[in-house]
């Protein structure tokens, strides 16, 4: 069932049918009705490829996804993808997920841009210095960044307010009387990690506490590195009374280490984990105090809306930048300072 057949069956020209279907003004209401009805009846579906060719756009937006190691299994990312497809579907837009190796990532962007396979991109996992963003800005390709890079003033993005989240955690611990607060963090080229660490430091500053460098440690973005880092810290004489972990993988590892060592959470050591513990985690049912993103589920939808606005092209930049606020979820893993 193609346009021609549909038109024939209605004794109309393809032109008219096309216009009726695409909601143009210059077609009589009656005709529009007839056409819409017949289209439904006969199960007409426009061929998106032909459509793309004629319109000169792909009707798809791309996500380039490095398919290596733990990277991918990020469940939050997949939530975003789900929200994105939902938000894009009503506009007849597809999501093309292209995989790439880390080193070949830029090549993949080039290939998609050059081959006109997509009209724009979602750039995920932004780095503080992000060559992908540089490239897309240079080429004038529309995109929406998921997370800000260092010069985020120049382009559209959606992000969580990582700095605010970390400050929230500090304030909570300070209000519980803690002054000896440690911090475990992921590699600082991840912008989220950098922002969270800044938030942590600012939070301390605001509370008039001087950070103890010894308790600020890189703990990676994995359970095992979090575990090892925590163990090492526990072996030392001079311990903090409270701890913030900037990501939930390392956080899970750290909590595991505490449990294994029999350190009682919230009493001997208070711990707050950014993003909480992932679902289906084996943490003996401990309810961890966490910084969470209440709008997490909607992130994808917001992003779909934003990228659509980006494609439309006539919105001021400030409407295309959105910061989502985190909140504190109180669990049982923190408590008043006992010192």
């Amino acid at each position: 069932m193609d346009l021609k057949a549909l038109a024939a069956s209605l004794n109309l020209s393809m032109t008219t049918v096309s216009r009726a279907l695409n909601g143009y003004s210059d077609v009589s209401e009656k005709t529009r009705q007839r056409v819409a009805e017949a289209a439904k009846e006969l199960g007409y579906q426009p061929n998106p490829i032909a459509r793309s060719l004629a319109l000169g756009r792909a009707n798809a937006i791309g996500i380039v996804h490095p398919l290596e190691d733990g990277d991918v299994a990020d469940p939050r990312f997949l939530d975003v993808v789900a929200g994105l497809t939902e938000g894009l579907a009503p506009k007849q837009m597809d999501l093309l997920i292209a995989s790439a190796t880390h080193k070949g990532e830029l090549d993949t962007y080039e290939r998609l841009v050059h081959g006109k396979r997509v009209d724009g991109f979602i750039v995920a996992r932004t780095k503080r210095q992000d060559e992908r963003i540089e490239y897309l800005l240079d080429e004038g390709v529309p995109f929406l960044a998921y997370g800000r890079s260092d010069d985020c003033a120049r382009y559209p993005w959606f992000d969580f307010d990582n700095e605010a989240g970390a400050r929230l955690a500090v304030e909570r611990l300070v209000s519980l009387g803690h002054k000896r607060i440690g911090y475990l963090y992921a590699a600082q080229h991840y912008n989220f990690a950098y922002q969270r660490r800044m938030g942590f430091l600012h939070g301390l500053e605001q509370a008039g506490i001087t950070p103890n460098e010894h308790w600020l440690r890189p703990a990676g973005l994995s359970r095992n590195s979090g575990y090892a880092t925590m163990l090492a810290m526990l072996d030392e004489a001079d311990r903090p009374t409270a701890l913030i972990v900037d990501n939930n993988l390392a956080g899970e590892g750290a909590v595991r280490a505490l449990l294994d060592r029999g350190v009682s959470l919230g009493r001997e050591l208070s711990i707050i984990i950014y993003d909480g513990s992932p679902p289906d985690t084996l943490l003996a049912g401990v309810n961890i105090t966490s910084v969470i993103q209440p709008t997490q589920q909607n992130a994808g939808q917001h992003m779909a809306r934003l990228i659509r606005m980006v494609m439309e092209g006539n919105h001021p930049l400030e409407d295309l930048q959105m910061l989502s606020q985190p909140a504190l979820q109180i669990g049982e893993s923190d408590g008043p300072c006992m010192d």
Copy 2:
């Protein structure tokens, strides 16, 4: 830079250039060289959309992915995706990953088929009774199943020999002197789980051991359910001396339970986990005896080859069905029966 421009710059017709580029025989070697060179020089990239329209195919194969709960985060799946894109890229084929809710899954297939967005599908996570496969067979849409369903004789598939893997595990334990062997399994509508359980039962039968129903338990496809099931089993008087877990999520939970209870692995209780433990797992460095898929990494590549053969259409069905053999990886979590 389009074909016309390229042809003009070479003083050739578009036809010739097109043929040269697509490796047709009837073009002189010299011309082919010239064309290839110019194309590279000028950075010519064919427009895949125009190509698709002309060829009447989308040059893409689809994977419909239910984007809910734990489902997605399956890292093995993402390995497969990586292998697939690699294997498809040389043939200029893309992988279109469409997300869908569980209930809307079939709709998504229809939309993609109808809209001619893809030429074929990879159907992952097959069930024993699989409506998606029914649908695609009915519609005559080419596809490759990743995993067999009940009537797998009728279509192309790639699968691991789950039955053989489970038997391998049984044989290992039997050879260590175990007779009291338990089995934890995932929901039996997953074909892999069904096959593994059958393999387990056959293995016992072959060894002349009558299975003790009491030790065969559903343990789900998650860490927490595996943990709970294991704990429950440990609380009972009549324990098996060895245990096989049919998936690595529940397996991780079970091992955690054993560690928490101080049961020494390989002495008090031997355990073998199907698929081993996932990367970045917190299992105190225990090297678990596992049934593994040595060709795991290549699965995606194999599947790319198979789906391409499917699309070609002229291969006998038996060439389009591939069973990958598992192997046993001996760790420290099993040992001789001490009873």
